[in-house]
Symmetry: C2
């Protein structure tokens, strides 16, 4: 009992101390010239490259202690190639256009008051994430580029790798920026997470990444503003006018290329007028790739060996090679089904009709709606954000892949010449 | 016990029924042409004018039952003039540029993927507010113009006025828009508020307006995304180079014109090099207007009869004619004091120096920073938003006066030609 409380106190102290340092550093970060932030990130990239051996060594330590499943093991692994990719990603972010100080809108009122809405950093951003050490460098780069300090709390299994990456990052930026701007929470139990969620007044924004259960935990417990990321019960709708070769290519890419990530497809809706022969061959292709296919009654009438999807199936975000297929009477029925079951992450239509595409876009209320493209493309890197802080599934502030602008807020600057309220 | 639960159940039923109707209406609202929304709002304005007598009559009923203080009584009152102003405000919103469907950004990736970030309505927005019936029409107009349905829960003392305004609004829009898009919660106790805060999946965004305690209650209890509005412990800093006549005019306007609202000034910081004779005359002017002046030790050395401000005073949002004055050694000390004590609503500098203005703007982390202008100008109407939904004091999503764009989110639309993830 007392040990548990000691752990909590130690975690809270660590978090408050590091958050205070980072918050103080944030005050200077936002006002430093953009050129300094850019140079710091280029140096950070070189520093990660120069210390690649140390980072790979530290990662070996994490890998030796790791006891989890293979899929997670692969996410934890850092080899030289992955470290070089981390550096390249920081370099890509460095050269993006600076967003701090951007005048979003400006106008002059009839009375001569000059009003500007100016983009400013949040201040201190915290990210809580899984044992994926590449995220450490990506998120740090995006935060610094957008003028924010960053408090990182990565998965406990990656703590050695993360320390090595943070050391390289700090060494890289130290000539241009205060190193206190980058902080790693080293606490390894849940109390470190709780301390971040309770750092009101210090942490301006927390971005949780991870399982649906974890996001739910944050929603219930955070005293700090947060942006929900994550769950992707994503749909592809094959319309009656679809180019069917394109449809196959996209469905296979969206389902099989990397089934455990949030932008993979989980459900396929097929217009009733699509040739049954096509559906048979698509299901055969998917099965050939090891995909487990479930379906509605109508699908089973076409392919009798398909397992019937249960009512719960339509709400599940399969993390493996499973897909459920439903035949629908119309585009409207597809949109209705999506409205009821989707997590509002990403949905795609495959169609040859511009009119159908427009209708689908306006009826589907998700972060990203794609036309004739794979849901796997919903990604900060693909979108050109250098990398991403996460993919927001909420409507407030950010929606979809989050890049530099999503790590900023705005403030109004109002200039008068003695103006008062009449 | 059972009665209390019955009340809760009745409130929850009322809210869920009305929210469901409004949510269904929202699906069509966002896709209707902008011209229809504009015509609907112009009609709403005429309808309010035509029913002015009914609205004033209903308001008389509310006024007869009202038992609160005079300041609140005045906020509840609707006479013909105020009803006409409500209509004028709806007309002003009608003619603003439409924001739905606006392409915020668009670009094409190297692989030819066309990406657009498009502005879309939230869906169903709920606003919980005090007994100020003019807010009912203003918020309904902003919501409809931005393609949202609206669920209104106004102060229980104004329920007759609000019903009359909603009836006029619905009659006005009925030829163009589904009337279900505008809903009033008629429940009169706290259980109606609680039901709104628990309408997950129906209400997309809730905007609470009211006291600091009420906002705190929402923060603790809401299961729905919300935007905090409100408290304004606002500062004016008189710099050493200030035009002192301008300073007096602005301070008096900000303090005395309407002391109970959130954009009034509460604290005055004065540079030590400002002439003591000026401070004496400013304090005399304020006192002459009935303002109670408190001050730091240094202020008292100049004007001995001033009451010493307690440490708590610096954090208080006086709702009456009180001001506390502090002498500071520098602009930096002023910014530090503001950083520690402000609620981050609105802060102003009075200065003749562009350099000092720039420094103040970058050091002060508040929703609005003003140069040579009164804090009272921080207002949606003054800013040109037609009216406002509230003034956000948070950094997420919206900051400062909230107009049409603040009632929208965005979605990504991605168009490919069979693009997949490599």
């Amino acid at each position: 009992m007392s040990t548990r409380r000691d752990l909590r106190d130690a975690a809270a102290q660590e978090v408050r101390r590091k958050a205070s340092l980072a918050k103080a550093a944030a005050r200077s970060l936002g006002v430093l010239p953009a050129e300094l932030r850019k140079m710091a990130l280029l140096n950070m990239a070189s520093s990660i490259e120069n210390r690649a051996d140390e980072i790979v060594d530290a990662n070996r330590g994490d890998m030796r202690s790791f006891r989890g499943p293979d899929a997670l093991r692969d996410r934890l692994l850092l080899d030289r190639k992955r470290v070089m990719e981390m550096a390249a990603s920081a370099r890509a972010v460095a050269t993006l256009a600076d967003v701090v100080g951007e005048v979003v809108e400006s106008w002059t009122t009839a009375t001569g008051l000059e009003i500007e809405r100016v983009r400013v950093p949040f201040g201190l951003v915290a990210v809580i994430y899984e044992a994926r050490p590449n995220v450490t460098a990506e998120v740090a780069a995006l935060a610094l580029k957008s003028g924010n300090s960053i408090l990182l709390r990565g998965g406990s299994e990656a703590v050695r790798s993360n320390k090595a990456i943070i050391e390289a990052t700090r060494a890289g930026i130290s000539e241009m920026l205060p190193v206190e701007a980058v902080q790693l929470v080293e606490n390894r139990d849940r109390s470190g997470v709780d301390a971040v969620l309770r750092a009101e007044g210090l942490v301006d924004l927390v971005i949780p990444r991870g399982s649906a259960e974890f996001i739910h935990y944050v929603r219930q417990n955070s005293k700090v503003p947060f942006i929900e990321t994550g769950a992707g019960n994503n749909h592809i709708f094959i319309d009656k006018d679809a180019d069917l070769n394109m449809a196959t290519k996209i469905v296979i890419n969206a389902k099989a290329q990397r089934p455990s990530v949030c932008n993979a497809v989980r459900k396929l809706l097929v217009h009733k007028d699509v040739n049954p022969g096509y559906l048979r061959s698509l299901i055969a292709d998917l099965s050939g790739l090891g995909v487990k296919v479930k379906g509605c009654e109508r699908v089973r009438r076409t392919v009798p060996w398909v397992e019937i999807a249960s009512p719960e199936d339509w709400d599940l975000e399969y993390m493996d090679l499973t897909i459920a297929i439903k035949i629908v009477d119309s585009l409207e029925e597809a949109a209705d089904h999506i409205g009821k079951h989707s997590t509002k992450h990403s949905e795609a239509i495959i169609t040859g009709s511009d009119e159908a595409a427009s209708k689908f876009i306006s009826l589907v209320d998700s972060s990203t709606v794609l036309v004739n493209a794979s849901t796997r493309l919903v990604d900060g890197g693909v979108f050109g954000f250098g990398s991403e802080v996460g993919i927001s599934t909420q409507k407030l502030h950010s929606r979809g892949p989050m890049g530099l602008r999503d790590l900023t807020t705005t403030k109004f600057v109002v200039r008068g010449r003695g103006h008062v309220r009449e």
